[in-house]
């Protein structure tokens, strides 16, 4: 690969590492997404029904609630099917309905918030790996230039190093694309929590 090609790689890597998304919030230097990082969701941003403060983890004690939460939280369950399951489950006297609604919402919120945190942690982990790889590529490119500048350069070494850089760059690019795609996942999860919260709350109206 020609020297100009490596300059281009370095430029791409620098522009990724110094992109506005990375510089946007100094509190989260590893956060790789354009979307701002909101580390924790609060139930009150999704729900203005009765407080779930007293529910805690007790929703897990009722197998029926737990099964319903597993079903409706799963992204493979279409939203309409989830809404139907909610309205079929939250029935009875007003007090019974309120208890069930609180438990189901607490379960949905806990389950999907945990999933969201896992995705966000994963994104930061991959972003850190990406930073390390960028450092390695930068180092290797520097070494390659030093080698190439020697009049009696060992061509076999040059070839090996160039091939290594090419391979690392490909991994770097693939990860970058994956990160961009996964950056939408926390929002997708928030959308699901909100839609389910609305459906649960409607059963109380």
């Amino acid at each position: 690969m020609k020297r100009i090609g490596f300059f281009f790689i370095l430029f791409t890597i620098e522009s990724v590492l110094l992109s506005p998304a990375r510089a946007a919030d100094p509190r989260y230097p590893d956060w790789p997404c354009v979307q701002p990082k909101v580390p924790e969701l609060s139930a009150t941003s999704m729900w203005d029904g009765p407080s779930i403060a007293d529910v805690g983890a007790s929703w897990q004690d009722d197998p029926k609630v737990k099964d319903l939460v597993d079903l409706i939280a799963a992204r493979r369950t279409p939203l309409d099917a989830a809404k139907k399951a909610i309205s079929e489950f939250i029935t009875g006297t007003p007090a019974e309905k309120q208890k069930k609604a609180k438990e189901v919402f607490a379960g949905v919120f806990d389950t999907l918030s945990a999933q969201r945190s896992e995705v966000m942690d994963g994104l930061e982990r991959v972003a850190r790996k990406e930073m390390d790889l960028a450092g390695k590529i930068e180092f290797d490119v520097g070494n390659l230039h030093t080698l190439e500048d020697k009049t009696d350069a060992d061509q076999a070494k040059v070839k090996t190093l160039a091939s290594e850089i090419e391979w690392s760059t490909r991994i770097f690019e693939d990860r970058r694309k994956t990160i961009r795609y996964v950056c939408d996942v926390p929002t997708t999860i928030e959308q699901r929590i909100f839609a389910l919260a609305r459906a649960i709350q409607q059963t109380l109206n």
Binding site: V38, P39, E40, S42, A43, T44, S45, M46, W47, D48, S51, A53, T187, E190, Q191, F194, A195, R198
Partner: protein
């Protein structure tokens, strides 16, 4: 006779029933469309294909057009409100985001987000007639009710710039909290409200003295402060209530304009940014970017009464003045 009487009553009832039907236009930033909502049926009756990245949206004063800023196309498109099709464009300058019109409806003042400029357009001539250099990332735009002062907020410089709309020059700048997104005068013109998205406040500015006289803060029980990010501000025409959209907090704050006290928080949709009143002031429509819908707030009741699904990433709402 009896039948004619009944038909007459039925017709009258139908007319009364339709009396509150208005059209709301909602810009969908990701789907590059504008959703047209009938406020009688509370449903989308038409989806209009527009340019790329539509954000700022408003009626012209004569109500003949709805203007929509298409940032990635560097233009403002004019939707003809009789045919609901894009009929013309305005030379907005690069990356238009938000805009406002002079009280007489002749001029349009446009914030060019990536160009640190406010572009002034003569709407009838479809021509640029001036440009004013402002701070970095201009966004919020407002005109005083008498038309004598134009306001622009710059998101990165954290200022509200006071611009002379005749001389096309900045005459004063007021520092506000981080990332000012929106500016609105109270209808009586005595106060200028500027929302700061990252700062989490609304600065109440005395526009005559160019000083911040109070900062309104927001706190929702059980919620961390980070998602409370004020953006859109809409004030009722009687100067009594202000509604402040709190972004990813998914709530709209209701504020007493006189005391600057928050009276209530209403849960709407996800990432609420910009809003518009129906002409009768009875409803406030909020564009919710993440839940892809519009919430309908009953203003006298201070209650969310409806939700309308629109396109992807709804950004702003335009309602006619009457």
């Amino acid at each position: 006779m009896c039948l004619r009487f009944i038909l007459g009553i039925a017709l009258a009832l139908m007319l009364v029933g339709r009396a509150n039907a208005y059209h709301a236009y909602v810009s969908n930033e990701r789907s590059n469309t504008v959703s047209l909502i009938d406020t009688d049926a509370w449903k989308v009756v038409k989806t209009i294909k527009v340019g790329q990245r539509p954000r700022g949206i408003a009626y012209t004063k004569d109500q003949k057009y709805v203007l929509v800023a298409c940032g990635d196309d560097d233009t403002i498109q004019m939707i003809d409100t009789s045919s609901n099709t894009v009929a013309d464009t305005l030379p907005s300058g690069p990356d238009p985001e938000l805009f406002t019109a002079s009280p007489d409806g002749k001029f349009l003042y446009v914030a060019n987000e990536n160009d640190n400029t406010v572009t002034i357009i003569d709407i009838a001539r479809r021509a640029q007639v001036g440009a004013v250099q402002v701070g970095v990332e201009p966004e919020g735009m407002a005109v005083s009710p008498d038309g004598k002062i134009l306001i622009n907020t710059s998101e990165t410089t954290n200022m509200a710039h006071f611009i002379d709309p005749v001389k096309h020059e900045v005459v004063a700048s007021v520092l506000v909290d981080q990332r000012p997104r929106f500016a609105a005068f109270t209808p009586d013109g005595t106060e200028l409200w500027v929302s700061s998205e990252v700062g989490g406040t609304v600065s109440v500015i005395d526009p005559a003295r160019h000083v911040v006289k109070q900062k309104i803060e927001f706190a929702i029980a059980g919620m961390r402060p980070d998602p409370i990010q004020p953006v859109g501000i809409n004030i009722t025409s009687d100067d009594k209530l202000a509604f402040v959209a709190l972004g990813p907090a998914n709530h709209v704050a209701v504020v007493d304009v006189k005391t600057h006290k928050v009276l209530k928080y209403l849960l709407v949709g996800q990432r609420v940014w910009h809003m518009a009143f129906t002409p009768d002031g009875k409803y406030l429509l909020t564009a919710n970017g993440v839940s892809n819908d519009v919430s309908v707030i009953d203003v006298p009741a201070l209650k969310v009464v409806n939700t309308v699904q629109v396109g992807e990433l709804p950004w702003g709402v335009a309602m006619s003045d009457h």
